[in-house]
Amino acid sequence: MSPISRRDFLKVAGLALGSAFIPDVALAAGEDSSNQIGMLYDATKCVGCNACTNACRQWNHTEVEKDPSGLYDAPTDLSADTWTLIKLYEGEEEHSFVKRQCMHCLDPACVSGCPVHALQKTSEGPVTYDPDRCIGCRYCMYTCPFHVPRFSWDDVVPVIAKCTLCNDRLADGNGPACAERCPTGALVWGRRDDLLAEAESRLENNSDRYVNHIYGKDDVGGTSVLYLSHVPFEKVGLDDLGTEPIPQLSEDAGDVIIPSILVGGPLLLAAIRSISKRDGWEESWPL
């Protein structure tokens, strides 16, 4: 449950082992993440029944979001009360359902940005949230490339709300409520590398059925929730975000800028002060 990211681990390991061993360490770290629990969603098998949304509500005790007639639970987007839902994509010739929830990134931007470690990536896979730490700054809502974290705006002291990958079920050996409820097998759960192998074999055996890409395998550095689809991913709201982890540039910049200013700043100030001509400064205190 430690908040230490893979790259921090690499840095420490790299220091300990020396730079020659870094490639091996990187492999070891990669295997570590593939042991995490994840989910595989296959859009070609989804019938849009919303059983997953319902299972999520029952386990997490979220409120239904009724349609105007009051007859149906009909959320239109993720919200503080809806942590997963099935959306419909309708193109001219094709249509598809797509399940949305937290992707549980391997290197999550929300975790990198959160000032107080209220969001953490656990070694088991889930990205979890601790309201006792959260100050409600909502930075995570902007850093997340999938627009997942939502805020309970109507509460006097609101919370961030999102899918937890049913972290509180995993400990007992159960899977995420949504994956266990799915009646068509469109959503399955398991170890991430098992799911990747399954996805690879589906792509291989039914290459005409799928877009040849497992979304989340390498996207944004990898996610714990993986997708297969028969329509291009960007059409169902899963944009091409590259394979570099979202926090990479930000964390690299911080590693350079902050120590440089902290060390270089005072030195530069001392240098400026010693070479500047002093216009009679000592006599006139501007304060």
């Binding site: 908040p3 990211s5 239109t76 993720l78 919200s79 990198s112 940005g113 959160c114 000032p115 107080v116 470690h117 309201p131 006792d132 730490r133 959260c134 100050i135 409600g136 700054c137 909502r138 930075y139 809502m141 902007y142 490339p145 627009h147 939502r150 805020f151 705006w153 109507d154 509460d155 006097v156 002291v157 609101p158 919370v159 944009d239 979202i246 926090p247 540039l249 930000s250 910049a253 911080g254 800028i257 902050i258 200013i261 902290l262 700043g265 005072p266 100030l269 400026i272 002060r273 500047s276 001509k277 002093r278 216009d279 009679g280 400064w281 006599e283 006139s284 205190w285 501007p286 304060l287």
Partner: protein
């Protein structure tokens, strides 16, 4: 206030409206804390930040006045700037206090806002955390730097001597903290390349924000001292204003070079030429905020008594547009309820800024913002 009675001057006309606005804002702030963000703001899951964040990100470079003037006078040792230090540091201090108040109102889980200072919770990778710590520490530094204005009036000499003796450490720490958080405000958006409009997102954001703090701070100083001199019917020091204008011009030129370099390097010129809102906004921002001030500062107008003042005004408008896009327009997602500020958000913002003007005006009226060279402090 005892000082008020002694002067026996009639209150300026602006006093009562400013006081009223401030009191309304305080009342609305208590209401916001009591009922939450939902009923008092128009923020939503699609625009989780509103006008308060925009104003914070505008006021911080404006309050950079204290940063730039401290650097120039304490470290570059330019005596001629010294008389602008007090007005600039006071503007900076009040700016940061307003930012602190607005941030406190903005964080949803305000009863535990102090978590940001709990060592075990601190995330060293988070630029937002670093900004929070720097802003808090820097506000304390500014409080120490403005303290002599009040201490000398009340004839409390010992702490002034301490401050005077350690001014390099105090001002130096303030400059380092400023360099950190002014640039980090830009770094905060490095992690949003997927969200911020490409004309504004660039890996050079920390550099751009740092340069903006430079010229916005100098511009604010030019505006503030011009207004004070006009109000107090003091002679305008055109040499000082020209020098501030020159320093501003350097920062503006550097900013323009980095910005243009980024647009060219990233191949974003077609976006600039596209006749959509963002293309127009980018041009408008550069024209009003960079070209107009540069036209004033690089021409004879820099020596006109109102030249640096207007250069400052236009530069600040440019920074405001910049921060408006970066915190709001350029981050917006397609939304069922596009964000426009709730009237309570607007009234709290206006009222808190009015409070800043009110306090500044009272200090100008009753304390000495331009200490004379010899009599500023007793030597012992």
């Amino acid at each position: 206030m005892a000082a008020l009675d002694k002067t026996k001057k009639p209150m300026p006309v602006a006093f009562y409206p400013l006081l009223a606005l401030t009191l309304i804002a305080i009342g609305l702030s208590i209401y916001r804390l009591a009922v939450g963000l939902g009923p008092t703001t128009n923020m939503s899951d699609y625009s989780p930040w509103g006008i308060w964040i925009t104003v914070d990100l505008f006021l911080i470079p404006v309050a950079g006045a204290a940063f730039t003037l401290s650097l120039i006078s304490y470290f570059f040792g330019r005596e001629h700037y010294h008389k602008a230090v007090r007005p600039a540091v006071l503007a900076g201090f009040l700016g940061y206090v307003i930012v602190g108040v607005l941030l406190f109102l903005d964080v949803g889980r305000w009863p535990q806002f102090y978590n940001i200072f709990v060592p075990g919770f601190i995330n060293v990778h988070s630029f937002l955390e670093e900004i929070s710590l720097c802003v808090a520490l820097y506000t304390i530094i500014l409080l120490i730097e403005v303290a002599p204005i009040f201490l000398e009036k009340w004839n409390i000499k010992t702490p002034i001597r301490w401050i005077k003796r350690s001014i390099y450490v105090i001002a130096g720490a303030g400059i380092v903290l400023s360099a950190l958080h002014q640039s980090s405000l830009g770094s905060m958006f490095l992690i949003m390349s997927h969200r911020l409009h490409p004309l504004w997102w660039t890996p050079a954001l920390p550099v751009l924000f740092f340069l903006q703090a430079g010229y916005a701070g100098l511009g604010t100083t030019a505006i503030v001292i011009t207004l004070i001199w006009k109000a107090k019917k003091m002679p305008v020091d055109r040499v000082l204003l020209r020098r501030i204008g020159q320093a501003m011009a350097i920062n503006l030129l550097l900013y323009l070079a980095v910005k243009a370099g980024d647009w060219l390097g990233a191949g974003e010129i077609p976006l600039l030429l596209r006749p959509d809102a963002f293309g127009w906004l980018a041009w408008f921002e550069i024209f009003i905020g960079i070209f107009v001030p540069l036209a004033i500062l690089l021409s004879k107008l820099i020596s006109h008594s109102a030249g640096p003042f207007w250069a400052g005004v236009f530069a600040l408008i440019g920074v405001f547009i910049n921060r408006l896009v970066i915190t709001w327009i350029g981050l917006a997602l397609p939304s069922p309820h596009p964000y426009t500020p709730h009237w309570i958000e607007i009234m709290i913002t206006i009222g808190m800024i009015a409070g800043g003007f009110l306090v500044y005006g009272m200090v100008v009226r009753h304390f000495r913002l331009f200490p004379d060279r010899q009599e500023a402090y007793p030597t012992n």
